[in-house]
């Protein structure tokens, strides 16, 4: 066999795309009476599945806790069969898990996809590039036409269920409520090296989306409404963006 033929066979046997059958195996591998070739190749096949499921478990800790050992292993095996790793970093194996759960929803827990999306965002934020934060004194000097630049580690996850509440309950070891549909926005960011997240109000989520799309402070503030407390709410929210280190720059209006 050529090297290419050997690797095609071995890869197929390890991933399960080729069944473990002695006639095929014995063309390529040698074994002993004590440990035949089929059992030897099976060692690699077993390690393949367990290694990738373990990598998923490290990223989706609370999803794994919620499902339990057996259900999570079954989910992982089904997911890996449909989405084998295409990246040299095994930590990237889970990037399509939320989509997989949306395509194959658990009838009783359709919110699992949202939980997976939140945990994947937390994973991305952990490894995202850092940036120098700007203090809110820059806000005081900025005009209404100023625009904000955001830290590359900030993520906003928009889900169909309250994933943050489910995540918190699982982490605390508390019973999880039945899923309740309702759009939820969660910001995920790094505080030092710790990843944190919080649910956003509808107004703040809209304002933050507009700000990240490059709208001016003036436009961003409009998302907080026109009520008597709107200006104070806008100021409090935007100030908190600075305090949490989400803002990496303030671009003032250019002089005409």
């Amino acid at each position: 066999m050529t090297l290419a033929e050997t690797q095609a066979l071995f890869h197929g046997l390890v991933t399960g795309e080729i069944p473990l059958e002695p006639p095929v195996l014995e063309q390529c591998f040698t074994g002993t009476t004590e440990l035949p070739a089929i059992d030897r190749v099976a060692i690699y096949r077993n390690m393949y599945a367990s290694r990738l499921v373990e990598a998923l478990r490290e990223t989706f800790l609370n999803l794994a806790r919620f499902l339990g050992e057996e259900r999570f292993a079954a989910l992982g095996a089904a997911y890996v069969a449909e989405h084998p790793s295409e990246h040299h970093d095994v930590g990237c194996i889970g990037r399509r898990l939320a989509g997989f759960l949306r395509a194959h929803p658990d009838p009783e827990r359709p919110d699992l996809a949202d939980l997976a999306e939140l945990e994947w965002a937390r994973n991305e934020v952990f490894f995202a590039p850092g940036s120098a934060a700007v203090g809110d004194e820059a806000l005081a000097e900025a005009g209404a036409k100023a625009r904000l630049a955001f830290a590359p580690s900030l993520r906003v996850v928009v889900t169909a269920h309250d994933a943050a509440a489910v995540w918190k309950r699982i982490g605390a070891g508390e019973p999880v409520d039945p899923p309740a549909a309702g759009v939820s926005s969660v910001s995920v960011w790094r505080r030092g090296f710790d990843v944190v997240h919080c649910a956003l109000s509808v107004e703040e989520a809209s304002a933050l989306r507009a700000a990240r799309e490059g709208e001016t402070l003036e436009v961003i503030c409009e998302f907080f409404g026109a009520g008597p407390d709107a200006a104070a709410e806008a100021h409090a929210a935007i100030s908190s963006w600075f305090a949490e280190g989400w803002i990496s720059g303030v671009h003032r209006e250019r002089a005409g």
Binding site: M1, A4, Q7, V14, Q27, G31, S85, E86, H88, D89
Partner: protein, 281 residues
């Protein structure tokens, strides 16, 4: 061309020990990290590594170069590796004599190669290309194996020796892997050591394994077994002072236990390489 460094005794630095390592700076001469865990641009891992690097030599040990694969070498991987090497300036860059990807799909395992002339030419060419790209020699580690190939015409030690001669790379000799493969494939580990040219050996690895009855599994989840320490002694007698590393990747104990294993390696090295005492007449 590869040349052995005099680094002393190190440990594999894992995320679990980041905080204590930075606080306590335990008595280790160098650390090894898994390359792929530090390729991301930001976050805690790379920040910790940069701090450690300020006063401790770092070795980058890869698991996904897939040097033996018939796939083209991943350009993304090489870009990431080159960027990390420039950033950290490691004492050594190492990976495994294995393959782990096929048609762009990674199995995240260290699959062995058939040891043939075709494999040798293929791997030697790729090692040369990687070394050209990085501007430095690399070291390749002998894998733990559970299968042997009908087509193999060379022993693993012959393959590695010839690879070093052709490509100018070095050998990261994993003593535990020699022991595990010897038991699984039925060869004599001493013959393995005898078949390796000392000039090619740039590093030793030491680790634990699990006895599964019909075979040994390379688990890195336990102390170095006595039989592996004995083989380490044999390696020291043949290869002399070689930078040695204790790996522990699963069921990782407190930092001091990993450090104690490294100190044990240093004590064994001192014992084996000390000049013979002369009795005064």
């Amino acid at each position: 061309m590869f040349q052995r460094l005099d680094l002393g005794h190190g440990i594999g630095l894992r995320a679990k020990h980041f905080a204590r390592f930075l606080e306590e700076r335990p008595p280790v001469d160098w650390v090894e990290v898994v390359t792929e865990n530090f390729m991301a641009d930001g976050g805690r891992p790379i920040a910790v590594l940069e701090k450690v690097r300020r006063d401790t030599p770092v070795v980058l040990h890869g698991v996904s170069l897939s040097i033996g694969s018939v796939d083209p070498i991943s350009g993304t991987y090489l870009d990431d590796l080159e960027r990390l090497v420039r950033r950290i300036e490691p004492a050594m860059v190492t990976d495994h004599l294995c393959w782990g990807s096929h048609r762009g799909r990674y199995v995240h395992d260290l699959l062995p190669l058939p040891y043939t002339e075709e494999s040798l030419a293929h791997v030697a060419g790729r090692v040369a290309a990687v070394q050209d790209r990085l501007g430095r020699p690399i070291l390749l580690e002998n894998p733990s194996s559970y299968v042997a190939f009908r087509d193999s015409t060379l022993a693993e030690w012959e393959f590695l020796s010839e690879l070093c001669a052709r490509a100018g790379c070095g050998i990261l000799l994993d003593v535990n892997n020699v022991f595990v493969s010897a038991r699984n494939l039925g060869f004599d580990p001493i013959s393995y050591l005898d078949g390796v040219d000392p000039e090619h050996v740039g590093q030793f690895h030491l680790a634990g394994h699990a006895d599964k009855g019909r075979y040994l599994l390379d688990t890195h989840d336990a102390p170095v077994p006595l039989a592996v320490w004995d083989l380490y002694r044999e390696a020291l007698r043949r290869f002399g002072r070689v930078p040695s590393l204790v790996e522990w990747d699963d069921h990782i104990p407190p930092l001091e236990e990993v450090v104690a294993e490294s100190r044990r390696a240093a004590a064994i090295e001192a014992e084996e390489l000390a000049p013979a005492l002369r009795r005064a007449s």
